[in-house]
Point group: C2
Chain length 198, copies 2
DNA sequence: GTCTATAAATAGATAGAC
DNA sequence: GTCTATCTATTTATAGAC
């Protein structure tokens, strides 16, 4: 089973490098070297660089949605605020996933696979459906449109804050005096006022 | 004065292309060709690709902050909601600026110039100081920490929404059913609930 | 200040042996 | 399924004529 080993190592390494440097910032040579496999193994397993990237994105989006789901299950019937912070913590800890899913979504949009979001029924970010359900349990009387607004507002804050915190820009003026705890308080407050408006 | 012409054309073209494709996605050849100048003119005027990029970023950040300032002056003593929507409209119309300032801030952070934000006194995004002032005029009794939270929350929504709208991802599942008017309503509502909490 | 020509490195992809 | 070797194109950067 050297197949699965090699293919898996390539995928994992590609994930890391693409999220750090973007699609154009990484060469297939670099990926193969970092993964400890031969260059031509990438062509063999993924046909070309573009298809490797798309496969990586698909994995990343799926993992994101699945993780949000499992975070919700772990927490049980908890508050939306707790869930949002759990998701934030996950993004910080596994920032590669977030960067791949969002940054590439915006920057390398031309090669972003259109079937990457598995939640075809839900209009929103991957994992958004879980937050939606959480809010609906907390406030069963809320209208659906309002809850979708709430999900997007909360998710935007979580993603944006996690992106800034996990980037190298924390030394920049705009991010100065921004600690992880400050950001958590910021998010919690956003959740509070958003839910108050439902 | 072919000097200023050439240098200016390079800067303008670099601005467009970098914001579309990112630092690694554009070659200096491509820039020189699109700008209608000779390749070596870039080395001559900017030394190398990296310094051209940093100069472009600095211009973009300055223009962003200046525009937000002038939008505020145009509006006179208006509501924060109106200002936020004006800024959103500006980002949509001039999305290259936003992409350069934010996307590169996150993705090409390793070459982001540390002196790009001219508002050294204010902790927040370029242009954030203007929103801060606007809120303080609207609610003079508000505490500074609360207003900073409000600025960041509002600005995050505006930037994030504008980024999504100006990307090619509008055909993606996550962005389906998202029109410009929906987004404006979304932002207006966020401003409303945030200011209510001050 | 602008040009041509070119150096030197690196890119993605593949042919063919094993 | 993995390897070496290599093709072709493109990259940044610069030397030197005008």
């Amino acid at each position: 089973m050297t197949d699965k080993d090699t293919k898996g190592k390539i995928l994992q390494t590609a994930h890391e490098l693409f999220s750090q440097k973007g699609y154009d910032g990484v060469s297939v040579r670099e990926i193969s070297k970092a993964a400890g496999v031969n260059i031509s193994a990438i062509s063999y397993h993924f046909e070309n660089k573009e298809k490797l990237f798309q496969e990586t994105i698909r994995n990343s989006m799926n993992e994101m949605a699945n993780t949000v789901r499992s975070l919700r299950e772990e927490l049980g019937k908890s508050s939306t605020s707790e869930l949002a912070l759990k998701i934030y913590d996950y993004f910080i800890k596994n920032s590669e996933n977030l960067k791949l899913s969002f940054k590439m979504f915006v920057i390398d949009a031309h090669i972003f696979p259109h079937d990457a979001n598995q939640e075809d029924d839900f209009i929103g970010p991957p994992g958004g459906k879980v937050i939606f359900d959480c809010i609906m349990e907390e406030q069963p009387e809320a209208k659906e449109d309002d809850v979708i607004w709430a999900v997007r507002t909360i998710f935007t804050q979580v993603v944006h804050k996690a992106l800034l915190m996990s980037s190298q820009c924390v030394n920049h003026n705009s991010c100065k005096n921004m600690t992880g705890e400050d950001t958590r308080k910021h998010i919690a407050r956003v959740v509070k006022v958003v839910l108050n408006d439902l």
